[in-house]
Amino acid sequence: MITINVFSTKYNGVFHPFGIESLYHLAVYIREKNIDIELDDLNTLTLEVFQYLINNNIIYVLENNWMKNKELNKIKLSNNDLIKNIKEKMSSSKSMDEFYDFYWIKYQNWYREGLENKGLNVYTIKWNEFINERIGDLEKWIEENKPK
């Protein structure tokens, strides 16, 4: 069983608000860090990180019209239902390519703006340096800054 510490420097790229764009890209990111990972493990890890991000109100799943994703547009899913939905989709997928069309994510405004106020922009690529110099403890910063 692989476990993951999202705040380790290995994985903390998932917190960069101008990086990952969808569940697919999240999976790609995690696979890059674990090249030979099995699909089941990859799905588990991806879901684990995704859950953390969505439960802490850092990201939300996009339901904009451009998606024209009727399935997601019809109903506004609760976080739990969304996770359940993703699990079902994952269990029937043979590769992560298959959920490319689904679950586009966006970082919450409070989160992105909070970091932007600290000097982050789309050209910030030295993420660890940024965290160390401007934020310090990211987990603590999230706790302190997330909407109560």
């Binding site: 790229g13 960069h16 608000p17 101008f18 990086g19 990952i20 764009e21 969808s22 697919y24 890209h25 790609v28 990111y29 696979r31 890059e32 996009l62 451009w66 998606m67 024209k68 994703n69 399935e71 390519d97 490319y100 069309d101 689904f102 586009w104 994510i105 966006k106 970082y107 789309v122 050209y123 910030t124 690529i125 993420w127």
Partner: protein, 487 residues
Amino acid sequence: MYYNANNELKASLIGYNLTHEEMQTAISNQSFDGFWDKIYYLDLEEIEIIEATPKSSKVSARRRRYHECDGIFNCDANGSNRWTRYGNNSGYGGYSGSGSSYSLPPLSNLPPQVAAALQAAGVFLGVNYNNRAPAGYGYNYTSPVRYFSVEDLTIPNTNSNSTPTPFNRRYFYYFPELKNKITTYYNQVYVSYINSYMTSTQTTLEDHNNKQRFITQFFKFLYKLRTENYSAFNYLANNPQKTVAVFNFLAENNSFNAYEFAKSTIDILSLPVITSNNKIDYAEEILRLTNHLKSFGNIEDEIYADYIQSLIPEFNNMTINEVRAIYGHVKTTCNNLTIKYLKEIITPIVTDLVIPVITYALFEATAGTAVKLLQKIPLPLVLRGARLNNLILKTTELGNPGFGNARLIPNSTVAKAEALFASLTKDAISVVPAANNPAITVAHMGNGMKIILRPISQTVPSAVRVIEYQNFNTLLGVDSFSLKFIP
């Protein structure tokens, strides 16, 4: 007698203990391989005449040579003049005779097989096989043979009726660099036995004649160029490296076509960078440059030339600055390629040639021109395989790095991004909307590789379009790489 590598005249006797048949074999092989243990030499500088005390009659001398001193062979070790066996067994891998332990003779400083090669080529050692030893001695000796050096070269004069000037006395007014170049060229002697060139200040009559012929031809070519195209001649005179490049090229490719090519090359290189306010002037120059590429370049260059020529009809809709910029790119590319033609056959893949134009389109040109430049990228340039891969690779170096596997392409518009996507996917297997999201366009490029166009980026909200390369792992090392176009 022979000249050694230091150009000193040396004298030695070489004795061949060969039967007539063996000598005939060596002559027909142009090599003493197989007979080295039957060849001896004697340094004449060191010779000390010892009275021959033959213990044998002339008749039996040859047979008994190995056993008794006959004044030349097998004398008492007290004598300083020793015939030394041409051992050819000094560890260079040559034929090693029957247990011969003689050291390598100081006939030259070369390893024996190289000496053999030179000998076979008629260089240095200058064995005259026709000279026989006086009757009864049973061995042959060398006789003086004339060798040629760069000082024997002559340079023709402008007036073909006047006598050519000896190389050493010739003052190279326009091309001072040629003096050294010609010397270097002359001193490269080809040795077929080792299929390579060696440096030597001496060469054979035949080699000298070939070189003299080329030098004469080359200077006549320069004189003709001066009469027919003075500006091209002048360009050469002012660009010594180019002169040397042309010299090298012609020395290696001595044919009518090569001279025609050299003429066109010098002509193209000598064209000044024009400044005009008239687009037609640029169009004419561009045609001239690209036609040169089409005549002498390879297929990659031809595709490039076709692409550039297809832009000419669009000049009306471009600003004069844009036309000038395109001309500038073509001029640089054409010059670089032309110099490459002279030096080597390998030319860059066409995508490398086009990248400056694409970069210009994305970052500098006005929207309309940019779209034209991108749209006109021809199919052969984006054929799946090496060319498309190379182009994709180049695009991942455009703009600025973004976080993750992304590049941010500033100064973008929807039209530019879409035009680039359309060009990149001209050879796609299919271009279809994504199954669950018609706003996403997916171009299938084979083997699971996809180029995807997305209308927006979630995480870079300002991006107007995203082009994503999916599953190009072999090429890009990652599952997904995005070009994010931001205004």
